[in-house]
């Protein structure tokens, strides 16, 4: 009877689990069967934890039987391989951590564990979350479930693909410059990047500390709301994590958009974007008007500087964050020699090309004599970008924009041209620089049947309003979700 259970949403599964109409075991079994059928060719997973998942499912069934189990009890999830998971290898898709087994859980993992969630395994990603296509993985690329010749997006491509292919009910990702939103758009699922500081980063392998944020991938807006409520909240282990109370995000759903003002930034509709993408986004805006929302033109004048600003700040932070992978205490160790040789060999063999490129960029940006011109200037630009959004949100409740200029591009198409690759994040990066919440949901498909994602951006801690607006579009039934044909 477990056939097809993997296609359930979290909301549906939660109802069936608490009614004891299905068991967590059979739900997990259905996901594991789906994974077995699709892997390794989909390559969404770096590590599958079948035994552990079934044990967790059985434990969840006992809690469910006792009654009063929490929201995610027995729900099978996929975890981006950037989250430290106690006893389960955590690679960050890097050779340097290929055999690293943490002795500790990330805070969000601990939260999900205590909720009784089931961990199916660790998903593929761009190495250290550096990339927009999951091609920069030491374990090979994750193709797009809608078209195996296309990328899944990145860096959280494995999580997006796993949700799209119904290998799990939901997944965890991280978003530093668009790493949840772009793959969610490419894979036709819902992805949410919360306000910076809303979710603990403890145990999340750092790429760029002032930009990294944890968020959910889900099959629908309601599921994203359910997951976010569990993920969010104060953490004594993360000094940058906010103490603001966590609202019940589900309550905001169903309220509609009547009377809301939706901002449309003209800077996000650029020359050269795929016409079908623009058409789908404009179509969604028309639909919002038909649902009673007002659209207003807003301007984010410093958008053009966001990519340059991001690649200075993110790489500067990364250059320090990745210094700990030195072959001394854990991870890949190069052949012995003197100390310098140990460092050079370990890092040369352990890191991929894109990671090395970003470490060098960041090291350069922080070097004596260049700091003011690069890092400091980038911080000033960041302040201007933040101010752009503040001004825009004086005129509107949420901003609606495209997620990426195109739908999923071909595997190999941009890998040799880093600058082209960087441009795929042109609409997502400024949100991280401003620390704002944003989410993506499907708003159509292009001529090749590839999904198009609509991006919603809200003021800081405006997740409820953002979810409400996303839910209105989904609930209206305008966008019929097409499952990938696999």
């Amino acid at each position: 009877m477990s056939e097809g259970l993997n296609r359930l949403t979290i909301a549906e599964a939660r109802r069936l689990l608490s009614a004891r109409e299905i068991s967590a075991h059979e739900l997990t079994r259905a996901c594991l069967d789906r994974i077995a059928a699709l892997e390794p060719s989909l390559n969404a997973f770096v590590t599958v934890c079948e035994r552990e998942a079934l044990e967790q499912a059985d434990a969840a069934d006992r809690r469910l039987a006792a009654g009063g189990a929490p929201a995610l009890c027995g729900i099978p999830l996929a975890i981006k391989d950037i989250f430290a998971t106690r006893g389960v290898r955590t690679t960050c898709a890097s050779r340097i951590l290929a055999d690293f087994v943490p002795a500790y859980d990330a805070t969000v993992i601990a939260r999900l564990r205590s909720e009784g969630a089931v961990f199916l395994g660790k998903t593929n990603m761009d190495e250290f979350a550096m990339g927009s296509s999951t091609e920069n993985s030491a374990f090979g690329p994750t193709p797009n479930p809608y078209n195996r010749e296309r990328v899944a997006g990145g860096s959280s491509g494995g999580s997006a693909a796993a949700v799209a292919a119904a290998e799990c009910l939901g997944a965890l990702g991280t978003d530093t410059g668009g790493s949840i939103r772009e793959p969610a758009a490419f894979c036709g699922v819902v992805g949410l990047k919360p306000t910076y500081s809303r979710v603990s980063r403890y145990g999340v392998i750092a790429y760029a500390s002032s930009l990294d944020q944890v968020g959910p991938f889900a099959k629908c807006v309601t599921d994203a709301a359910i997951m976010l409520r569990v993920l969010a909240g104060i953490d004594p282990r993360d000094a940058t994590c906010t103490a603001r109370p966590v609202p019940d995000y589900e309550q905001a759903l169903g309220a509609g958009v009547k009377g809301l003002r939706i901002g449309v930034p003209h800077e996000f509709f650029v020359e050269g974007m795929q016409p079908e993408v623009e058409a789908a986004v404009r179509g969604a805006l028309d639909h919002y008007r038909s649902l009673g929302a007002e659209t207003v033109a807003v301007s984010l004048p410093h958008t053009g500087y966001a990519i340059a600003c991001y690649y200075l700040i993110a790489t500067a932070e990364a250059s320090a964050n990745l210094a700990r992978y030195d072959g001394v205490r854990y991870g890949l160790r190069g052949a012995a020699g003197d100390l310098l040789a140990l460092y050079c060999r370990s890092r040369a063999a352990g890191f991929g090309a894109e990671v090395k490129r970003r470490i060098m960029l960041g090291t350069f940006a922080l070097s004596a004599g260049y700091y003011d011109a690069y890092y400091l200037k980038a911080q000033k630009v960041r302040t201007l970008i933040r101010a752009d959004f503040e001004r825009a949100f004086a005129q509107c409740d949420v901003i609606v924009a495209p997620t990426a200029p195109t739908t999923a591009f071909r595997i190999g198409e941009k890998i040799a041209d880093p600058l082209q690759m960087y441009l795929s994040d042109i609409f997502t990066i400024s949100v991280n620089l401003a620390g704002l919440p944003a989410m993506v949901l499907p708003c159509g498909y292009d001529g090749d049947g590839l999904p198009i994602g609509l991006q919603l951006i809200a003021p800081a801690f405006g997740e409820q309003r953002m979810l409400q607006v996303a839910d209105a579009l989904e609930r209206s039934g305008r966008v019929e979700r097409r499952e990938p044909a696999i």
Binding site: I82, F83, A84, T90, C92, L97, F100, P102, A103, Y104, A106, R201, Y202, G203, V204, I205, A206, A208, S209, S210, P236, R237, D238, A239, T240, A316, E317, S319, A320, L322, A323, R324, Y325, D326, V328, R329, Y330, L339, Y343, T363, L366, S367, A368, Y371, Y375
Partner: protein
């Protein structure tokens, strides 16, 4: 110093703060644990971990800053200082760079030894974490991370110091301050108080600074003094020989008592400081600052001033306050006595002698201040002589017996009974009629002889003041 030159010295002190847990995690700071016992994912720099600032360390830093008259920054930030070394698990040290927690301030050196009081200005005081410790063996090098993440205070002076002894005096004063504040246990041998020295020399009267050398790795006051002395002489030698001093980082070799340059490879660092994104700015709101200010203990300089108003000399006040424990001991000893000065003398001579001779701590070497006070009260009351008390004190240090019991046991109780003394005097004078006559005839010198005879007759236990009085009276009577 060679005539015609002046040394210009600035010190950078690293003091370990006396917190129970590390600066950014909950691990113990206890010294002497087995290697890699006091560690966790955070202080091992495991992937994904984050620092959380220790509130107590901040309070202690502010305390020290207030005591050193610094401006306390209500808003300061942490920075990453990047370099690769096996004892540095994250590949960067979390420190403060721009916007340290304390800026400016000064330390006044006590005016002992007849020198004029001297003020050493401070540049800054900031918080940072310690690194681990590399242990090099023949086969391999090992790393002990117990010290990794231990909170340090870096205290940077202006180049206001002009001699090696003044540098030591500054360090002693700083040490006393940290001890008074319970901010550090200042154990140099355990590495909880370390010092880097910047030294340059210039022609006397010159306003421009010479080229400085930095001496690292100084872990005792004696080494600081030796290293500075050697370095000053070396630099003057260079200049006298017509050469230039080059800007160098030196290591002190305690065996040969010389400084030698570090290999340039050891110091070609660009630390690439930038603000630590994992820690929000450190805000010290007014009420917290006030709370810390109110809880400040009395400081050495304040104590010194009070002792002088209580009748001690500047020298005595300086010696007693150098160590908070000694000053506390003195105060507890003197509390029940009429004469505080005699208590001060006693602590500075008898107590310090025993401490120095035994090499033990104050608490272990000598009786409690209450017992010492009781002994001195017996001297004040005439029950025991000063010499008797010294003997009793030595015995008390060995036996840990109380003052009264020791004095009684050693038979040191002084006879202050007028009748008994008069009786002994009468007997002596009667037996020495000849000399009495000579005395009365003008041989005043014989008085001492009579005193000696009476003391002898009373087994040395008579109160000498009373013997003198009674003899004077009796010898005068018959004249």
């Amino acid at each position: 110093m060679t005539a015609g030159y002046e040394a210009v010295i600035g010190l950078e002190v690293h003091a370990q703060l006396l917190t129970r847990s590390k600066l950014f995690c909950g691990c113990s700071t206890a010294f002497g644990a087995p290697a890699n016992e006091n560690v966790c994912p955070v202080c091992l720099g495991m992937p994904g971990v984050l620092p959380v600032l220790n509130r107590r360390a901040v309070e202690l830093a502010v305390r020290v800053g207030l005591a050193a008259h610094c401006e306390i920054a209500q808003h300061s930030i942490f920075a990453r200082k990047s370099y690769f070394y096996p004892d540095l698990p994250k590949g960067y040290q979390i420190s403060q760079y721009e916007l340290p927690v304390c800026r400016g301030g000064f330390i006044d050196l006590p005016a002992d030894g007849g020198e004029a009081p001297q003020r050493v200005r401070l540049v800054r005081i900031h918080l940072e974490e310690d690194a681990g410790k590399n242990i090099h063996g023949a086969e391999a090098s090992l790393v002990d991370f117990n010290r990794s993440g231990v909170p340090l205070l870096e205290i940077v002076s202006e180049p206001d110091i002009r001699s090696a002894p003044a540098a030591v005096s500054y360090l002693q004063e700083l040490r006393a301050l940290l001890l008074y504040l319970d901010a550090s246990d200042v154990r140099m041998e355990e590495g909880s108080f370390r010092c880097d020295v910047n030294v340059s020399v210039r022609r006397a009267g010159s306003e421009t600074l010479g080229v400085k050398a930095e001496i690292k790795n100084l872990n005792s006051f004696r080494f600081v003094e030796k290293a500075i002395g050697y370095e000053i002489a070396r630099q003057i030698g260079e200049l006298e020989a017509g050469r230039r001093v080059s800007q160098e980082t030196m290591l002190f070799d305690p065996e040969r008592e010389v400084t030698r340059p570090m290999r340039s490879k050891e110091l070609a660092h660009d630390y690439r400081y930038f603000p630590e994104p994992d820690l929000p700015p450190l805000e010290i709101p007014g009420p917290l600052l006030e709370e810390i200010r109110v809880a400040m203990p009395e400081l050495p300089a304040e104590r010194r001033a009070r002792y002088v108003t209580e009748g001690l000399s500047g020298y005595e006040a300086a010696v007693l306050t150098r160590d908070r424990g000694l000053a506390d001991y003195y105060e507890a000893t003197a509390s029940g006595l009429r004469n505080r000065k005699s208590a001060a003398n006693w602590v500075m001579t008898e107590v310090l002698r025993v401490v120095n001779e035994t090499g033990r701590s104050l608490a272990k070497a000598v009786p409690s201040p209450a017992e010492t006070g009781r002994l001195l009260a017996m001297v004040e009351g005439g029950t025991v002589s000063l010499n008797g008390a010294k003997n009793a004190f030595q015995a008390m240090c060995r036996t840990q017996q109380g003052a009264e019991a020791t004095v009684a046991e050693l038979g040191l109780t002084q006879v202050s009974d007028d009748a008994k003394i008069a009786e002994a005097c009468d007997r002596v004078l009667a037996a020495e009629a000849q000399r009495v006559a000579e005395y009365r005839g003008g041989r005043d010198k014989l008085f001492g002889f009579f005193v000696g005879q009476v003391m002898k007759a009373m087994g040395g236990r008579a109160n000498p003041r009373l013997v003198n009085e009674v003899l004077k009276r009796k010898l005068g009577e018959g004249a």
